[in-house]
């Protein structure tokens, strides 16, 4: 990524570099400004609060480091999430930023994450006759078990590695999907 980039992106790229050696809390605007080679004021103009910075940094990391493989079927979804959890395990500092950003009160763009839309689309195609309430219950459960929060909780609170987290994920979504009668699923 040697292309010249805009200031907002340069700030995020530098913050990501700093994350390799310190936590998000320890990246002050002062330190960040020195790293980018701009004034602290310029950073405030782009990111008026640390919550804005955290949200933008998480989006950027998501796009550059943890791109979500496309999925249409449940088995593709499962594989995509496994890949994601393994990528989180390989770059925990980045994944924690994602988990934390998804917990804060939304700043500007309250757009649901791409994975949310993808799960909803998967269910619309795969289970077209499922009533709306059950579809939302299933979508919300699948979304929450595939989140960076799930990975972070199991890593920090349960001391599990990516393989074990994938197993716990599989078990959780199996129990959720088992709520639906077999006939729910559209036959390909």
């Amino acid at each position: 990524m040697e292309e010249p980039v805009d200031t907002a992106t340069a700030i995020l790229a530098s913050a990501a570099v700093l994350l390799r050696e310190r936590t998000f809390d320890d990246i002050s605007y002062r330190v960040l400004a020195d790293e980018v080679g701009i004034s602290e004021r310029t950073i405030y103009r782009q990111y008026p609060t640390r919550a804005h910075l955290l949200a933008a940094l998480s989006n950027w990391i998501e796009q550059t480091r943890f791109p979500l493989p496309p999925f249409v079927t449940v088995s593709d979804f499962r594989a995509a999430v496994h890949e994601r959890f393994r990528a989180f395990d390989a770059s925990p500092a980045y994944a924690y930023v994602g988990a934390r950003a998804s917990a804060i009160s939304p700043t500007l763009d309250t757009e649901p994450a791409y994975i949310t839309r993808a799960i909803e689309a998967m269910l619309e195609v795969g289970a077209p006759t499922l009533n709306r309430r059950d579809r939302r219950r299933v979508a919300a459960s699948l979304r929450y078990f595939s989140s960076a929060m799930f990975w972070a909780r199991l890593r920090t609170g349960f001391d599990l590695d990516a393989g074990e987290i994938c197993d716990a994920f599989d078990h959780a979504i199996d129990t959720v999907l088992a709520k639906l009668p077999d006939a729910t699923w559209a036959k390909p």
């Binding site: 936590t23 809390d25 609060t49 925990p92 500092a93 924690y96 988990a99 934390r100 998804s102 917990a103 804060i104 009160s105 939304p106 309250t110 649901p112 994450a113 949310t116 309430r133 939302r136 219950r137 979508a139 919300a140 459960s141 979304r143 929450y144 078990f145 989140s147 929060m149 799930f150 972070a152 909780r153 199991l154 920090t156 609170g157 349960f158 599990l160 074990e164 197993d167 716990a168 078990h171 959780a172 129990t175 959720v176 088992a178 709520k179």
Partner: protein, 187 residues
């Protein structure tokens, strides 16, 4: 609302901070303002909570033990009810709920993302002792995850759900997890 391990001064600091978070709508409150609200000297805040992260961790733990405290469960199969009520409590105090949510996801800083884990294990082991290690862990992990403020944040933010829908969907998911062990209770 006494919490074990906290001095009266500490409880006063945390209560004052929580009050200010709700009033201001942000956890960005200076120690000076917190001290004034608690009726103590600013350096007393520093002495008890040297860094902001220390203060946030203590505040989140205090909130979970007071404002968001769960009623005691006597069965693992009561957990969906507990989750339903917890979601309603979080929804009633959104600013405080976000503070707990973000603090739990700080990763390496000594946050405790699964405070209810020990209780879930006790209940599960008492009622369904026959599970193998992997299955037991999976059930505990799923229920811990659902019985947390992260559920409220995610369902609200990603799906635009209201209080009823969040409570319903979270309890439903917990019932789904329990379906796999519902008929395996030790006689």
């Amino acid at each position: 609302m006494a919490v074990p391990g906290l001095s009266g001064t500490q409880a006063a600091i945390l209560a004052a901070y929580a009050e200010l978070i709700e009033e201001i709508g942000s956890d960005d409150v200076s120690n000076r303002v917190i001290a004034r609200r608690a009726g103590i000297a600013e350096r007393t805040v520093f002495r008890n909570y040297p860094t902001r992260v220390d203060l946030l961790l203590a505040t989140a733990a205090w909130l979970e033990a007071t404002v968001f405290a769960r009623e005691e469960s006597h069965s693992i199969f009561d957990i969906p009810l507990v989750i339903r009520e917890a979601m309603q409590r979080y929804d009633a105090r959104p600013e405080l709920a976000h503070v707990v949510a973000e603090t739990a996801m700080r990763g390496v800083n000594g946050a405790t993302p699964s405070p209810g884990r020990a209780q879930l294990e006790r209940l599960l082991d008492g009622e369904v002792p026959s599970l193998d290690a992997a299955k037991r862990r999976a059930v505990i992990a799923a229920l811990s995850h659902l019985d947390s403020v992260g559920t409220w944040v995610t369902f609200r933010r990603e799906f635009g759900m209201d209080r009823r829908d969040i409570a319903d969907a979270a309890a439903w998911a917990a019932e789904a997890v329990l379906d796999s062990i519902r008929d395996r209770v030790a006689p």
